[in-house]
């Protein structure tokens, strides 16, 4: 039985080796990523054919800066989901970090304000992680509570209004409008964070254990992984990077924004991760896929506004994309279509 079963398998793999480089390349990039690339290409060509302003360098920069904030959140959301969790607080943490950075800036200067904002994000992560691990609350519910509560804190400290003015500070100006070798600083920030997280997931022991915890936490525990430490650690990472996104919001608008600019970004980050092929049950996914999905979303939203589509359609489009991505994922997993999904 077992021998007959292995024969075709070895056949297939040896045929694979003989295959042309093209097929190997397809497998290396992955079907998911290729379909994303294809979707981006189709989208770019069709938007460009309707409005050639789409191809202007200034518009490309606009897209790049627009995706930076949501891209940062999508990158850490990817890590959280790979670990088997979900973090709905990222948008609210970004808002809280944005007002905090602006308010601290007026007292203590740019560098201190940025570091303090990141620390506040980390503390938010500790809170979420501790509620999950020690309070035994599922990440979905724990961070749903955080989504509301952290937003409330941001509104409390700011009285619900934009705070401070960072528009004259060199560091904040560099973050928002500066560029290095012709590429905006904002895009650099996303690129550096994405590459670092990618390297961590792929090459470090910590990253490999994150996949293990998400794939099967009992197996990880029985193999000697301190899973509590990993869960809390990943939420701290998510909070810190979300706070970095909040600092960039402050830089772009010149003042601290408790809600505007960050509200709803948790949703975009989850959509991007799901579109990018991250398994919502954990254990599977890559930063590369998420970044492609972020670009796809950025191009789509930019195109819709260029073509003068009623902006309310943007929400409809994002919701539809999220459902479509997850439906495809679930159907491919082959689960029986009975009762509530696992």
């Amino acid at each position: 039985m077992s021998t007959t079963a292995t024969v075709p398998a070895t056949d297939r793999s040896s045929r694979l080796h003989r295959d042309h480089g093209l097929r190997r390349a397809v497998l290396a990039i992955g079907v998911q990523n290729l379909s994303l690339l294809l979707a981006i290409t189709v989208l770019v060509l069709s938007i460009g054919s309707q409005n050639s302003a789409f191809y202007l360098t200034s518009n490309l920069k606009t897209i790049g800066m627009a995706v930076t904030i949501s891209g940062l959140l999508a990158v850490v959301q990817t890590v959280v989901i790979i670990m088997g969790g979900i973090d709905l607080t990222v948008g609210s943490v970004a808002g809280l970090a944005s007002v905090s950075s602006a308010m601290i800036f007026s007292q203590a200067g740019a560098a201190v304000s940025i570091v303090a904002a990141l620390a506040i994000g980390a503390v938010c992560g500790v809170i979420s992680g501790a509620i999950v691990v020690f309070g035994r609350v599922t990440p979905m519910i724990a961070t749903l509570a955080g989504l509301i509560a952290f937003k409330g804190v941001a509104q409390l400290v700011s009285d619900g209004r934009a705070q401070g003015y960072t528009g004259a500070d060199d560091l904040y100006i560099f973050l928002s409008r500066g560029s290095v070798i012709g590429v905006p600083t904002l895009v650099w920030v996303l690129a550096v964070v994405a590459v670092l997280v990618h390297l961590m997931l792929r090459y470090s022991r910590v990253g490999r254990n994150i996949y293990a915890v998400g794939g099967n936490d009992t197996a990880a525990r029985l193999s000697g992984v301190n899973i509590n430490r990993y869960i809390i650690g990943v939420f701290v990472l998510a909070g810190t990077v979300a706070a970095l996104a909040g600092v960039l919001i402050t830089a772009r608008t010149g003042s601290g924004q408790p809600v505007s600019g960050s509200e709803g970004l948790e949703f975009q980050s989850i959509t991007a991760a799901a579109l990018g092929g991250v398994a919502l049950r954990g254990g599977k996914g890559t930063i590369g896929g998420t970044i492609l999905a972020v670009i796809l979303l950025g191009v789509l939203l930019n195109g819709m506004s260029l073509l003068g589509v009623n902006p309310f359609w943007q929400n409809v489009a994002q919701g539809t994309l999220l459902v479509a991505a997850v439906v495809i994922q679930q159907l491919r997993s082959g689960e029986r279509r009975v009762g509530l999904p696992k």
Partner: protein
């Protein structure tokens, strides 16, 4: 609710055959459950008792064979159909809805009421009438909530469900495993009454003494085949045990004999939430089997040894040094590895590759400054895939796509890669085909020959006898005996695992 009571009915199953993924669970089995008789169904773990019950309850469909109820053939295509025919299997752990009343639990799915409106008052009154009718008054309060019930009461709810449905064929699946002596006595009196009312009763249990108390006829299965039936009045415990065991030992167990070395693992009076006062030793180069029935506390002991469950009192020593583990990570650092029973749920990361699964416990050894050396990892995976002959198209293959035997080898490879001093294997060949079984035995033998101390939990007696240098038998969370390879027989192990005199003497709380 059922306006006309059903007439008594007898159930006859003929030539039942059922396979799962090529493994034959039942082969041409006949079973008679005549009205007005208690028929006990006995056999070792894996003999096919549960499969047979699941076919009667409509959960499984047999590959071949037919079932006759009251002279008419029936398909039993679904649990609903089986129930509609008046056939019920009382589950060992019944499904009870936690936060609703006993009354609602009893009439679950058949709630009385008009136009979808349920009157709690009527419901409770009806439950009280029905409880009184079947002699449960005082044992079960229709107002208490599902979550507050004892195991015995949960089972009574399940029995009540069958009785209000006027089931004429009722099968019990190891009903006493969670019952106290008094509760067992109540259950037996009830079973006797149901029989005297003319119902056909099936009774599955491991406990010999019970069979002789409650059953009229005992039917024995072994390896999915019917061995025979005896009138309880005309048979003996010895005969039933002989029918349950007695099978050829194959040449699969070819052990290299080595002189055992120093004691690597020693337990002295270890007590946890689930096991009491367990003492045992495993020496280097030795394979010790932990035998016993499912639920004897062996898995729980294994988890305690590997640091996943706290040891409340007693001592665990590794190489003579007393240790206290706070987590599996501590135990692994001390050289103890556990391959758990539930391979898919507890050991494998199904969505990751063979390579990732093999290296999981050894990542620290493979990395420098937190970066995993992928070349070393590749070599390690290659080495163990070759050594254990894991059949996979590539080391990048997702573990989910491997067969059960190869998945188990991946788990073994993970721990071989970590090179532990003590290896605890919980049911290492469960759900594994025969060829892979023999290979896993060879791997275990090789490990021991190289000086590892191996503790194997197994519910398969031939495996225990073939593999072990020594056999420790557990029952109800206690060690009931230890047998040397030379003196061990299936009968002796089974006696230590199921005989009730020991538990009657020692297990009183």
């Amino acid at each position: 609710m059922s306006p006309t009571p059903r007439p008594s009915a007898s159930l006859y199953a003929r030539g039942i055959t059922k396979s799962f993924a090529g493994v034959r669970a039942l082969v041409d089995v006949d079973l008679d459950l005549p009205a007005g008789q208690v028929t006990a169904l006995m056999g070792e773990n894996g003999a096919g008792k549960s499969t047979l019950l699941k076919i009667l309850s409509g959960d499984y469909r047999p590959d071949a064979g037919r079932i006759e109820l009251d002279g008419h053939p029936h398909a039993f295509a679904s649990p609903l159909e089986s129930r509609a025919m008046g056939v019920r299997v009382i589950a060992q752990e019944p499904e009870i809805v936690p936060y609703v009343s006993v009354a609602e639990n009893i009439y679950l799915g058949v709630l009385p009421g008009r136009f979808g409106r349920v009157s709690q008052r009527q419901l409770t009154a009806q439950a009280e009438r029905d409880l009184a009718r079947f002699g449960f008054t005082g044992l079960l309060d229709p107002r208490s909530r599902g979550v507050d019930l004892s195991p015995a009461q949960r089972q009574m709810v399940e029995i009540m469900r069958a009785l209000v449905d006027d089931a004429q064929v009722i099968c019990f699946d190891e009903p006493t495993s969670s019952l106290s002596e008094t509760e067992t006595a109540v259950l037996f009196a009830l079973i006797a009454r149901l029989r005297d009312e003319g119902r056909a009763i099936g009774y599955v249990s491991h406990r010999l003494r019970e069979i002789f108390q409650v059953a009229d006829v005992v039917t024995v299965l072994r390896d999915g085949r019917l061995i025979g039936s005896r009138l309880v009045a005309e048979t003996s415990e010895t005969e039933v045990v002989r029918m349950m065991v007695g099978r050829d030992l194959s040449a699969m167990y070819d052990r290299t004999r080595t002189q055992p070395g120093d004691v690597a693992l020693e337990l002295v009076g270890v007590t946890t939430e689930d096991v009491r006062d367990v003492s045992l030793t495993v020496r280097r180069g030795e394979v010790v089997a932990l035998a016993g029935l499912v639920g004897a506390g062996r898995t729980e002991l294994a988890l305690a040894i590997s640091g996943d469950r706290p040891i409340l009192s007693g001592e665990l020593r590794v190489d003579g040094v007393p240790r206290r583990f706070r987590s599996p990570a501590d135990a692994i650092a001390a050289g103890i590895a556990l391959a758990p029973e539930e391979r898919k749920a507890d050991a494998l990361i199904m969505v990751r590759s063979v390579r990732d699964n093999i290296s999981l416990a050894a990542l620290r050894q493979l990395s420098r400054l937190g970066i995993v050396n992928r070349a070393l990892e590749h070599d390690m995976a290659r080495r163990y895939i070759d050594q254990l002959r894991i059949r996979t198209p590539s080391m990048g293959q997702i573990v989910q796509n491997l067969s059960g035997g190869n998945q188990q080898k991946v788990v073994l490879a993970r721990w071989l890669a970590r090179q532990p001093e003590v290896l605890v294997l919980d049911e290492p060949t469960r759900g594994v085909d025969v060829g892979a079984k023999a290979e896993i035995y060879a791997i275990i033998d090789d490990l021991a020959a190289k000086g590892a101390a191996v503790l194997v939990i197994s519910s398969e007696l031939p495996e225990v006898l073939g593999l072990a240098d020594r056999i420790v038998v557990m029952q109800n969370g206690r060690v009931t005996g230890e047998l040397d390879r030379a003196e061990a027989t299936e009968e002796r192990i089974l006696t230590l695992a199921i005989a009730d005199h020991l538990s009657a003497e020692g297990a009183r709380p």
